[in-house]
């Protein structure tokens, strides 16, 4: 029998629940039985509740999934002949691509993640990689920008700004020196798509950034990755070295006379450095303080030069648009939100993970059909959508289409696509307090409404929770939210009222509970 290919993820989430132990146990057990196994370490498919999820490639090339695995399960699976890709075992899930959670997705950006060896250029190309870049190398910069504009791509970092327009601004800006900066700061609690992609398919990000460079005439780029992601940093650095060695990055891209040099820079634990101008300050070696706009980074960005700042997922959507054409990408989506969005199901959820779907999917489908409700089995009481600056929606208010405009109409926002689920034991006054406390900790300190307002917000909510003069303090809190929303320089202070106001609006009872009830918990 020839060697059977077995894949085990080396994604941070899979490793966090023992993927390395499982991989070692598989190798040891195969050895003990004298069976030939080729172990491939991949990214994650994003079905985190099944991690560590092992796949066996059957004789017909079809992959079969097993999970969640522990090292102790390994001998039993060998006994059950799992190397023959059997499906009759309590941990077996059949062909991976037939698992409903995966089958029902529309994976464009994450098509390869968890499938290939993240650092193999051959794997990447076999699965359609670098096709978009090859096409871009034959196109005029204007044509690349136009393709992105027609594809309808909007920024996935939170603001949803049209990417083609941003690129065109940088392309048209005068001067020979321009930069591409990838925002991989992914600070929002409840999000992990950037991390998964950098660990599971780093060449896709490199390809997207290179296309951006060709489109605007940049020769140098930076990826700003948060320090909390050591494995993403290491994978990205290795991928850059490999891409350079194999002629896909650096001087002479794929045999042409074009050049693009890419560097990885590591953040230092400041949420505000995800805001694009603070990120630029940080890249220049300063405190991560927000810059006043204008000038826009597209006009005066890194080191004062015209700069494209895009999120990881924005840049990773680019190769598909070039490879398959703008019309293909545009066909997905709803209203003015075109393409697909990698949603992230997190928190108290039974089937947490990554769900990539066209915009317009209902939040209730994400939370219940995909997510399976709460992990605790209790009712879903609240879902925070779009990170720490996003609103809390009530469990019975999820029949909303997930696209930029529809969510905005309901007072919510998509942000980076994270959904954090809470069951009915959550105390929404505490969540509102946390929103203010987080803002106080992470404020860059440049403007008063945010720096002082958030601190005052914590104190006022503390008084409300303690039952002191509730009506008066509630009025103070409303005023504070108003001032923060209206007078902050950036969205950190400006949007922190979102979670606070939505908690007050949808869960008023939590702000009226007798203080003793809370203390007794």
């Amino acid at each position: 029998m020839s060697a059977v290919t077995v894949t085990v993820p080396r994604d941070t989430a899979a490793l966090s629940v023992g993927a390395d132990d499982v991989a070692a146990a598989i190798v040891a057990e195969a050895d003990r039985r004298g069976l030939a196994v080729t172990l491939v370490r991949t990214g994650s498919r994003g079905l985190f509740w099944l991690e560590p999820m092992v796949e066996v490639v059957g004789p017909d090339g079809v992959r079969h999934a097993y999970g969640p695995m522990t090292a102790d399960d390994v001998p039993g699976l060998f006994d059950a002949d799992f190397l023959e890709a059997i499906d009759h075992h309590p941990l077996a899930h059949g062909p991976t691509d037939s698992i409903a959670y995966l089958k029902d997705q529309q994976r464009l950006t994450f098509a390869r993640c968890g499938v290939i060896d993240p650092l193999s250029v051959i794997d990447y190309r076999t699965h359609g990689g670098f096709v978009g870049l090859d096409r871009a190398l034959t196109m005029a910069p204007e044509a690349i920008c136009a393709e992105i504009t027609h594809g309808g791509l909007r920024g996935r970092g939170g603001a949803g700004f049209p990417t083609g327009i941003k690129w065109t601004t940088v392309r048209e800006a005068p001067g020979p020196t321009k930069y591409i900066c990838c925002n991989a700061d992914e600070g929002d609690g409840g999000t992990f798509a950037d991390r998964m992609l950098m660990e599971g398919d780093p060449f896709l990000l490199i390809e997207g950034m290179t296309i951006a460079a060709l489109a605007v005439g940049a020769r140098e780029g930076f990826v700003y990755v948060r320090s909390e992601y050591p494995r993403a940093i290491a994978t990205l650095r290795a991928a850059i070295a490999t891409a350079e060695a194999e002629g896909w990055l650096g001087e002479g891209i794929h045999g042409t006379d074009r050049a693009f040099h890419l560097h990885v820079r590591v953040g230092a634990g400041a949420y505000i450095c995800g805001e694009e101008t603070a990120m630029l300050e940080s890249l220049e070696g300063r405190r991560g303080q927000v810059r006043a706009k204008p000038p826009l980074p597209a006009h005066e960005g890194l080191f004062g030069k015209p700069t494209v700042v895009n999120n990881v997922l924005t840049l990773a959507a680019v190769p598909v648009i070039l490879a398959q054409g703008a019309a293909f990408y545009r066909d997905f989506g709803a209203g003015r939100s075109r393409g697909t969005q990698p949603f992230q199901l997190a928190g108290n959820i039974r089937r947490g993970g990554l769900v990539e779907l066209a915009f317009g999917v209902r939040l209730t489908d994400l939370v219940h059909r995909f997510g399976g409700g709460t992990l605790s089995g209790r009712p879903v009481r609240a879902v925070q959508v779009g990170g720490p600056l996003g609103a809390y929606l009530p469990g019975d208010g999820l029949d909303v289409a997930a696209d930029y405009e529809t969510l905005a109409e309901t007072g919510a926002m998509l942000g980076h696509g994270g959904l954090v689920v809470f069951d009915d034991t959550v105390d929404m006054a505490r969540q509102a307090r946390f929103a203010m406390a987080f803002c106080a900790i992470e404020s860059c300190g440049k403007c008063t409404p945010c720096r002082i307002g958030s601190q005052r917000g914590v104190e006022v909510i503390d008084r409300i929770m303690a039952g002191e003069n509730r009506a008066a303090n509630r009025a103070v809190l409303d005023d504070l939210c108003e001032v923060m929303a209206e007078a902050s320089l950036c969205a950190m202070g400006g949007l922190t009222p979102n979670p606070v106001r939505s908690a007050l609006a949808h869960f008023p009872e939590d702000f009226k509970r007798p203080p003793t009830a809370r203390a007794a918990e």
């Binding site: 941070t12 989430a13 490793l15 966090s16 629940v17 985190f48 509740w49 991690e51 992914e186 600070g187 929002d188 609690g189 409840g190 999000t191 992990f192 950037d194 991390r195 998964m196 320090s227 909390e228 992601y229 050591p230 993403a232 820079r265 590591v266 953040g267 230092a268 634990g269 400041a270 949420y271 940080s282 890249l283 220049e284 070696g285 300063r286 405190r287 991560g288 303080q289 080191f303 992230q344 199901l345 997190a346 928190g347 108290n348 959820i349 947490g352 993970g353 992990l375 925070q384 720490p388 994270g418 954090v420 689920v421 809470f422 069951d423 959550v426 969540q431 946390f434 987080f438 992470e442």
Partner: protein
Amino acid sequence: MTGRESLAETGQDRDWEMQARARAIVAEHQGQPGALLPLLHAIQAEFGCVEPSVVPVLAEGLNLSVAEVHGVVTFYHDLRHARPGRHVIKVCQAEACQAVGADSLLAHVRRSLGVDRGGTPPDDAFTVDVVYCLGNCALGPTVMIDDVVHGRVTPARFDALADVRRRAAP
């Protein structure tokens, strides 16, 4: 020579040695644009923290004022002014982990190691910090020990992870 003087001298020797090593690290990073943050990471990787005594070396090497470098060091949560314990434990306190009991896990961690926030227990084995999201939000509560992320951390699992490290030779 009194004991006090010799102590001071060793302290000074240590500073000199540290500054010499810092100079070598500065030389490696000096060339790149916006070198300060990569340089500070390298310094912390070498010494465990950014001690006030190396700040002038960095400032001189990058042609910045001491105040500027100090301003940067104090801005970023990651940069430490004092050496941590042998292992750094970061307990996630962001929303997704809150939803699955991150606060009670943090309370357990502190109780079980006998430390306050940011504190290091007397045996110098661990420093406990909080962190806001480690990108493992579907498998919380999440804890990072040194550079390794652990998911679905129950109090018992945490104690086992800490025990292994406590028993390992420093």
